[in-house]
């Protein structure tokens, strides 16, 4: 009898439950580093869901970008701005109510959207026999190797994602340059002339 249990569904429920529980914990916790920790666990569970669905590339992406990058940056931000140890954020009741209403509304919209798509109700639609990240990488380079869906003109399908990819890259480059400009050491005038804030800080301990 136990042999007929669908382990895939059980693991799905485990990961989904973990993701939801830790997402709630992020909201409920009042210590910002604990929030970050719960967020890591929630995002990690989401990555687990992706792996379970066979989308290994997206799962690894989730780990790399969200869990790794975002949270290390978050922790950086916390530590650089914290004035006292263990900063805590108390949420007022008004905020909780407001957030609850907004969250519930979004959930309702998403549920409605998810259940209204006809194709998502049938199991096993659009499954790839041997999933691989290669078509995605080729598409990012502007070459589509996957089969075009029936009924679309070839010129539209074959375009790939090279242009959006390049636009995003240039955008990120601009952001980087801007961040470097904002964060560079400020020059200031002293009786001895111009020196950078770095030199002033290390030279004069006062």
């Amino acid at each position: 009898m136990l042999a007929v249990i669908n382990w895939h569904s059980i693991l799905f429920l485990v990961f989904a439950g973990l993701a939801c529980a830790f997402a709630v914990a992020v909201v409920v916790a009042d210590n910002i580093v604990r929030m970050a920790f719960y967020l890591v666990l929630a995002l990690g569970s989401t990555a687990g869901l992706f792996f379970l669905a066979g989308a290994e590339f997206i799962g690894a992406m989730q780990l790399m970008i969200y869990v790794g990058g975002t949270l290390v940056l978050l922790v950086f931000g916390v530590m650089l701005t914290a004035q006292a140890p263990f900063i805590s954020i108390k949420t007022s009741t008004n905020d909780r109510v407001l957030a609850g209403v907004v969250g519930a509304a979004l959930l309702a919209v998403l549920l409605q959207a998810a259940f209204s798509v006809e194709a998502w109700r049938r199991p096993g639609v659009g499954q790839v026999a041997n999933p691989s990240a290669t078509p995605l990488g080729m598409a990012l380079l502007g070459v589509r190797v996957d089969d075009p869906p029936a009924g679309t003109s070839p010129s539209l399908v074959r375009s790939g994602y090279l242009l959006p990819f390049e636009i995003v890259s240039v955008h990120l480059l601009v952001v980087l340059v801007g961040a470097a400009y904002l964060a560079r050491a400020k020059r200031r005038r002293t009786p001895r002339g111009i020196e950078t804030a770095d030199v002033a800080a290390s030279g004069g301990s006062r």
Partner: protein, 407 residues
């Protein structure tokens, strides 16, 4: 193995799969824990020899074999202390976070052709992503300890690891590009054959980028000369100042696990993985498809090769640790941003153009391009269907074997 348990032993399916998963997990755990025991002993001996001492000599015989075990018992017996002002939950969880990150990366690490916990087609990416998570445990430990030393150590570690991920990623991309796959099994299989087929010797650029990878790998697992996070001359012990007993030893196991992991990754990406410098299995006439026992034996040799290379990498890291003085934090950042990153970028571009111009690598004329050898059975279902022996020249495989292999 699950098939064997279901069909031969007659266990119910859920139990068989459970046992299979448990055995795999226990094996990986033992690679980390047992490896840590051996490496701690080796570290003591190597450090001692480099400093003209003897190291442990009495515990468990002449060479102090049991020193690590004695250390472990001492750590178990230690009181588990926690500072009064610490954030209890995070303080207690942090070592496990570090250890879990190290452990998870091993899941996708192949030890031989199908000695792998879970073969992912983005294996390299997964390992690098998970390896980056280890720093999160360190940050939590530093923050939750409520100690200035710990916080400084954690901040340094965070800055260092995040910076070194950039050149490390660039180094890792080069073998991925040469193999045309992010699957660690495929990458290693493309380097089959003699040692000159390794990507280390593929072209001058890969040779240089291997050393950049070594530097970045040492830095990303926080070993000297990059162990700023636990610089004992300045920060007492850095992020683990407040830890004692078993929790502290979890940090150490994570560190040794990561060292082994980056070394194994170096072996897989640049040094042929489980393909030794001399293709012993092939010379013996054992190849894929000559039977289950032969297959198993080939895998065992491969596993031995990979473990040997990874252990060699760890030993080199120890040698470096006890030879070079620790860098200052600004020198660490300079090494990363002004040297490793530009060199890696230039070598990446160079390897790309080399691959365009001379796809077979520098040793092309001397040895067979590895890609042609096993392509067939890599693509086959389950990786075993197409026998490799069929494409091996008769000069290498005795003709009797070849006759058996060919369909």
């Amino acid at each position: 193995m699950a098939d064997f348990l279901i069909n031969t032993v007659g266990l119910p399916e859920w139990l068989a799969w459970g046992i299979t998963a448990g055995v795999a997990a226990a094996l990986i755990l033992n690679v980390i824990a047992g490896g840590a025991l051996v490496f701690i002993w080796a570290e003591r001996k190597i450090a001692a020899r480099i400093q003209d001492r003897l190291g442990p000599t009495r515990t468990g015989g002449r060479f102090g074999w049991l020193q690590s075990l004695a250390d472990g018992i001492k750590l178990l017996a230690k009181e588990d202390l926690m500072p009064e002002g610490a954030d209890g939950m995070l303080f207690q969880l942090a070592p496990y976070v570090s250890f879990c990150a190290s452990f998870c990366a091993f899941i996708a690490l192949p030890f031989a052709f199908d000695f792998v916990g879970q073969r992912l087609n983005v294996g390299v990416f997964f390992v690098v992503a998970v390896l980056g998570l280890e720093v999160f445990g360190v940050i939590l430990a530093g923050y939750a300890s409520a100690s200035k030393w710990s916080l400084f150590g954690a901040m340094r570690e965070a800055a260092q690891v995040v910076s070194y991920e950039v050149p490390l990623g660039m180094c890792v991309v080069v073998p991925v590009m040469l193999a045309g796959s992010m699957d660690l099994v495929t990458i290693a299989e493309k380097q089959a054959g003699w040692g000159i087929n390794w990507y280390l010797f593929h072209d001058p650029f890969t040779f240089v980028i291997f050393w950049v990878y070594v530097t970045c790998a040492v830095a990303s697992v926080n070993r000297a000369p990059f162990d700023l996070a636990e610089a004992e001359s300045e920060l007492v012990a850095g992020f683990h100042t407040e830890y004692s007993g078993l929790r502290w030893s979890f940090f150490f196991m994570a560190e040794y696990g990561s060292m082994f992991l980056v070394s194994a990754l170096a072996a897989l990406l640049f040094m042929g993985g489980w393909n030794g410098p001399i293709p012993v299995a092939e010379l013996l006439g054992l190849s894929e498809g000559t039977g289950d026992t032969a297959n198993y034996f080939v895998r065992l040799i491969g596993c031995f090769n990979l473990m040997g290379k990874a252990t060699l990498g760890v030993l080199v890291m120890m040698w470096v640790r006890w030879t070079l003085p620790r860098l200052r934090i600004d020198q660490v950042m300079t090494t990363c941003l002004k040297y490793c990153t530009p060199i890696a970028a230039a070598m990446f571009a160079g390897a790309m153009f080399w691959q365009l111009a001379l796809p077979g690598g520098v040793m092309r004329g001397i040895s067979r391009p590895a890609g042609e050898i096993r392509e067939g059975w890599l693509e086959g279902p389950g990786g075993r269907a197409a026998p490799r022996g069929a494409t091996v020249p008769a000069a290498v495989v005795p003709s009797k074997k070849l006759a058996q292999v060919q369909p």
